[in-house]
Each structure stands twice: as structure tokens, then as C-alpha cells.
Subunit: 416 residues, 2 copies
């Protein structure tokens, strides 16, 4: 991650190149088994940025991911190659804490910017699965646990500040993808920008209204500032339902290339924002009930696990320099109070970041597929409008949805 890209060594690998690359790595070749000619190489690129292939051999499979020198879905948008390096670093940082809630890093090549992780063949992308009406009742709780276990141990609540600083510093250099977040999530949707688009003319008035609302802009500015100055922990940075793979009760968070130090509510807010959009895009009462259950499960398990990790650290005198153990070890009542305050603040951030995610995913550059469930354009616009109006209220009238529970109830009402 710290070495500069060496364009001379870089080339985009095609399936034959991928086969040769994997064959040259004994551990990977052994994992696949048999002869390289027999390996099946399938492109499964789905995100906006990178090439992704699944490779299967007689003994097993791997997932091969390579950065391109441009945005995959827009070759005119040039981009540095280092994003797979950040993904590799994120996996190294969080895997010891989250275990099988993410994938195992098998190999990283810093010249080709190739990342090889365990194959999740058989899993489906949670967003696609939900859109097809599938139900993974354990997934949201698992992702809540993932966020707790990826953030608490990488924060100065758990670490001496020197260790937190050393851990987080390299991720603060993830400028390329953080710039995407700053522009596409936090800024562009709130002023005229050529990358923005929406169902027009149906949503024109709604977009004009939230842009003209000074309370929205003030809150957006505040969240820009929190995103850029509040370095609570190492974040995934792009935790939407397309960054989660599920199979039965197995749930894995993938695609950590946006990793950065930031406010924990950003990870929570992106995930809840995507569940809310799924709720508004879903036409069956059962589907909506599941989306509401998932919002509740995610938040409940995140909060519960985060507090449990924290209490355990303080009790064993192994907490970090923030809320230092000597002040709280012998005062469990005070510890509970500061934990409640800390988590309440994350909840407030979460609700605001969820609103930003809804707005940018319906009126900005990159939209979510969930609303494609609604074939009729007028009906689709109506559901997006309802989601946008909720998002506007979440920003301009936070007192109406002060908690995730209140937000769920309000969303259930408006998505009916």
C-alpha cells in the first residue's frame, strides 16, 4: 500500500493470464488442484470498479480480483490502481477480529494489484438475494456483529493511542476512494452536478425541495465534517447490501477497498440506508416485514456486541486510552452510562448517514437496483419519492426519528 504503482509491471490479466498467475503461486495452485488447463475461470464482476473472476479447480476455488486503471463501468474515468492494496490491508486488519464474517486473504500482488481471497461460490450477493425475495434471517445480525468486531478492536477504546494511530494511518491515505465518497455521497447530490440523475420529471420537484431546504444543507455539512474529522475506528467504508454475500446462515462482508478511519455510524448508516431503500422498493408486506426485522436485528446486534466487547476490555484492564480503564474499572454504573452515550451518538450519526445514502442512491451517480423491482415507472417514482421524503426528514427533523427503532416505525408507516 505504501509503494507507488509501477505501471511498467502492471497489466490487466485476461482468463489465460489469470490461469498463469495462479499456477505460478504454489499455495494457490495446490488449493485449486489438478492442471491449470482444467481450471474454470468465470468473470463475475459486479461492482463498479474492479475485475472479479471465480476460478475453480478439482480441489477447490478462489476469487481473483484486480484493480483496473479506470472505473470498470466507465473507462473514461481514470483511477489509480491501489484500491486492492487497501482491501488487502483491511482484510489483514479485521480478519483476526471478525473471523468468518469476512473472507480469508490468500494472496496479494502489489505489482499487478491482484487480490486473491477464498471463493464464496454458492453464496449470493445479499442485495440480489433480497430482490429475488430470499430470506436470510441471520444475515443482518451477523453484519451488526461484523461492524462491532471490526470497529471496537481498531479504536482507541480498545487500543493504546499509539497502536490505534499506527493501525489507522495507512488507511488515511486511501485518498482515491475516499474522494469518491466525499463527492458522490456527501456533496454532489446537494447541488447541480452533471453526474447526478433521477427519474425526471417525476422527482424533479422533490429533488429541488430538499436541495432548497437550508436545514438539510446544514445537516449535510455537519455530516461531511464528521466524516472527515471523527476518526473513531477503522471503517469498511462501503457497507451496502451489495458488499455482503450470503449462503444459508453463512454471512460474509466483502469489498473492503474503501476502508478508512472514520465515524462508526458511517458503516452502520450505509447498511441501514440500503435496507430502508429495499423496504421502500418491496411490494409485498412479507418482504417489508423482513426488511424491518433486518434493520432491528442489525442495530440490536451491533450495539449489543460493541458494548460487550467494551465491557470485557475494561473489566480485564485491557481497554485503550479513550475512556481509560483506571477511571471505569471499579464503576460499572458509570461505564454503562458512557457506553450508552457513545452508542447513542453513533445512532444519531447512523440515521443521518443512512439519509445521505438514500438520497445519493436515488438522485446521485450510482443508484441501487432494488427499485428496478417496480416495473411501472410512475409507481417506482412514487416509492423513491417516499424514501426521499423520509431521508429529508431524517436530516432536517432528526427529532422525528431519534432512534433506529423510531426510524423503523416511521419507515414502516410511510412504505405501506
Amino acid at each position: 500500500m505504501t509503494r507507488p504503482a509501477s505501471p511498467a509491471a502492471y497489466r490487466t490479466l485476461d482468463p489465460a493470464g489469470i490461469r498463469a498467475f495462479l499456477a505460478a503461486q504454489p499455495a494457490l495452485a495446490a488449493r485449486l488442484g489438478g492442471q491449470p488447463d482444467a481450471w474454470r475461470v468465470r468473470e463475475v464482476s459486479d461492482g463498479n470498479l474492479n475485475n472479479v473472476f471465480l476460478v475453480d479447480g478439482p480441489a477447490g476455488g478462489v476469487c481473483f480480483k484486480q484493480s483496473l486503471p479506470h472505473v470498470r463501468v466507465d473507462p473514461n474515468w481514470k483511477m489509480p490502481l491501489d484500491r486492492t492494496a487497501f482491501e488487502a490491508a483491511y482484510l489483514r486488519a479485521v480478519r483476526p477480529h471478525v473471523g468468518d464474517l469476512t473472507t480469508e486473504l490468500l494472496h496479494f500482488d502489489p505489482d499487478l494489484f491482484v487480490l486473491v481471497v477464498e471463493s464464496l461460490d454458492g453464496h449470493v450477493v445479499l442485495r440480489h438475494g433480497l430482490m429475488q425475495g430470499g430470506d436470510w434471517p441471520d444475515a443482518a445480525a451477523a453484519i451488526g456483529r461484523f461492524v462491532a468486531r471490526a470497529t471496537f478492536p481498531t479504536s482507541p477504546l480498545a487500543l493504546k493511542f499509539e497502536d490505534a494511530s499506527t493501525l489507522l494511518a495507512p488507511f488515511a491515505r486511501n485518498h482515491t476512494l475516499t474522494r469518491i465518497t466525499v463527492d458522490l455521497v456527501l456533496t454532489d447530490p446537494y447541488h447541480a452536478h452533471p453526474r447526478n440523475h433521477w427519474l425526471s420529471p417525476e422527482l424533479d420537484a422533490t429533488v429541488a425541495e430538499f436541495r432548497a431546504d437550508p436545514a438539510v444543507r446544514r445537516r449535510v455539512g455537519q455530516m461531511q465534517t464528521r466524516f472527515l474529522t471523527c476518526q473513531q475506528a477503522l471503517l469498511h467504508g462501503d457497507l451496502h447490501t451489495g458488499s455482503v454475500m450470503v449462503s444459508g446462515s453463512d454471512t460474509r462482508v466483502i469489498d473492503g477497498e474503501f476502508a478508512l478511519p472514520g465515524p462508526i455510524g458511517f458503516d452502520c448508516g450505509l447498511f441501514i440506508g440500503n435496507l430502508l431503500m429495499h423496504l421502500f422498493a418491496t411490494l409485498t408486506p412479507e418482504g417489508r416485514a423482513r426488511a424491518l426485522r433486518d434493520i432491528d436485528q442489525f442495530w440490536t446486534h451491533f450495539r449489543q456486541d460493541f458494548i460487550a466487547l467494551w465491557t470485557n476490555a475494561v473489566t480485564h484492564g485491557q481497554s485503550g486510552d479513550a475512556y481509560a480503564a483506571p477511571l471505569f474499572r471499579d464503576d460499572p454504573a458509570s461505564l454503562r452510562q458512557v457506553q450508552t452515550q457513545f452508542l447513542d451518538d453513533i445512532e444519531t450519526d447512523t440515521i443521518a448517514f443512512a439519509a445521505l445514502e438514500i438520497i445519493r442512491r436515488t438522485t446521485g451517480y450510482a443508484h441501487v437496483a432494488d427499485f428496478d423491482l417496480i416495473a411501472d415507472r410512475t409507481a417506482r417514482a412514487a416509492r423513491q419519492e417516499a424514501a426521499l421524503r423520509l431521508a429529508r426528514d431524517m436530516l432536517a427533523h432528526p427529532e422525528r426519528t431519534p432512534t433506529i427503532a423510531a426510524l423503523g416505525a416511521c419507515a414502516a408507516d410511510r412504505a405501506r
Copy 2:
């Protein structure tokens, strides 16, 4: 700052070594003028950490500062040498913005950890000057302007986040001196630690009381967390009245070796905390009136200058990614509202950090000299007790002193 110390090249220079060192630097030798033998070398070490000498020649003077491999006042407390490197980097970062509110960096030697800055011979340390009953009516306003001009331009309010991140990242590695702050300011005074000391037995009950107050400990934990996670701007990190030199209306902030990214209220709070202690240590009504005036002047000018810099940046479309200009350029009323909110939040932080400074400077490791003004031990303990009780209220009952103005009024009342 990024190169490791090379102990082989390092040696502590004595006056003869200092003369030879300066003679070998043509620009410095020319500034001093004449022959090295004729230069006067005077030790003026005053802080706890480093050797400081003033060197005068026929043409002019310089200030020579060198890190020692230990705390100057405690040779058994070993310490890395890199602190003068951070001071040099801080001067390079802020001098373009603050001009003659700090000193000019003339030379830095990364092997000897020697920093040479312009001489302020003729100036006095503000703390000493105030203790002798001197009055510098412009000083507090100047320091308020210094904090505004050192923090706004180094924050993502003014900078693209990439530039803010690149500027701040090296200072996040200032682990040695940040550890001193974390331990001595933010943690040790709140539990039994061998470095703590106070006027005992006179203050024993007061110390026991604030340590036993759960509301104090909760607020201290919160400020630990803000100090370690809220990276608003580049801070001086040790802005007490001993870090300021004055002469007439000329005011200079020195000793930036504690520089780090952090919450702006930390710099403000340390300075106001020291003015409050001076207020409580001062026995004349005139001296107390000047201390109150200084608190007001510092805060008024800090706030005014910070907002003016911000408004100017937004108006010219040159602001950063936090509170991004496209959202506020055409809405001055909203800009004023977010500025008020941002500065109010700094004010809240300032009051809490000022309280921590009072507590650590009367019951922790390094005390302030101001209370030595009171020869009678019982009277001295009574004034420290009053200061400590105010600090406890600032932490446990923030609603009693919600603003700097209210704090000043309350302090004036209790210091009478």
C-alpha cells in the same frame, strides 16, 4: 521527522559545540556577525524537556534549541529525540498563516535534533511577566488570532481532505509527546499514580472528592475520547502561558513540539485554563481584572478571526470538503448558523479541557508557578482549592458555565 534518530551522530552540544555548530552554517554565522569567539552563549532552558540557549553576535541573535535523550528536569525519564523535528514541522506548517505571531525557523538539523529560530531576546515569558504584575493588553487577543490562523487553514474546512490528510498525517506520529498529554493531562490525575502530588494534607479531601465524582470521570473519559478521535485541525498541543513570549505589543507563540491533529478546543482550553489559574493565584483586584479581560479577549478574537477566515473562504469558493462551499456559498444565513454551531462546540470542548488543565497543574506531575505568588501555604491551598472546585463544576455541571463569558463571571466570583 520521518527519518529515524541516528544515535551515532547525536551528541548534546555544550556552549563551545553550539558556537562551532552555528559557525558552520553560513547563514546563521552571517546573522550573528563577527567572529564565533565573540558570540555570547547563554543557557535559558525553562521548559521541562529541552536545552535552550540564546546566542548573540555583533549583528544579531538566534535561539538554539536541542532535544535531550531524556526529560531535561528528570534525566531518569528517557525520551526519544524527535521532538524538535515536530516543532520544526509545526513552524513550517503554521508560519505562513500566522506570520509574526510565532518565530521564524532558521535551521533544523535532523541528526543533532537542533532547532534554530529567531531570537526573542528582550521578550519575556508571558507567565513570568504576568506573575510579576506586568500587563500586555494585546497579548491575549493576539493568541486568539494565532489559534484561529493556525487551526482554520490546517483543517478540512479550508483544505481539500487530501491536503488536510497529507498535512496532518506526520503529526499523528508525534507519539512521544502525545503520550505525555494522554497520561499527565487526561488520565493520571484521576486515579492514584506516583507522579501525582499536591499540597497535602490541605487538598487531600478535595482531590478525593473529584476523583470519587462519577460525573467528573465520565466527562474526563469523554474528553479523552475527543482528544484522541476528533482531528479537526493541526494543534499547538501545549498552549499555556509559558509557551508565549511578549514584548510591548509583540506576542509570539513558541514551543510547538507537542503539535498533533486534534480538537481545536484543546489549544483554547489549555490557554484559558492557565489564565484561570493565574486569576486564582493573583491577590490584587487589578491583576484579577486583567486576567478576566484576557480570557474574554482571547476567546472573542479567536472566535471572530476563525469565523472571518471561514466566511472569506466560502465566499471565494476556496473552502474545503467539510461544510463544502457549493452548499453554503449562496446561503449566508445557513453559513452563519453552522459557524455558530461549530464554534459553540469548540467552546464546550474549551471549557472542559480548561478544567482538565487546572486539575493536572495543581494535582498532577507538572504544576504551574503562578500559585507560588502566594507565600502563605494555607492561603495558597485555599486558592488552589477554589480553582479545583471550579474545575470540578466545569466537568460535572457544564450547564453552570456553558460559555466562556459565563465561566469568566463564575470564576471572578469565586476568586474574589
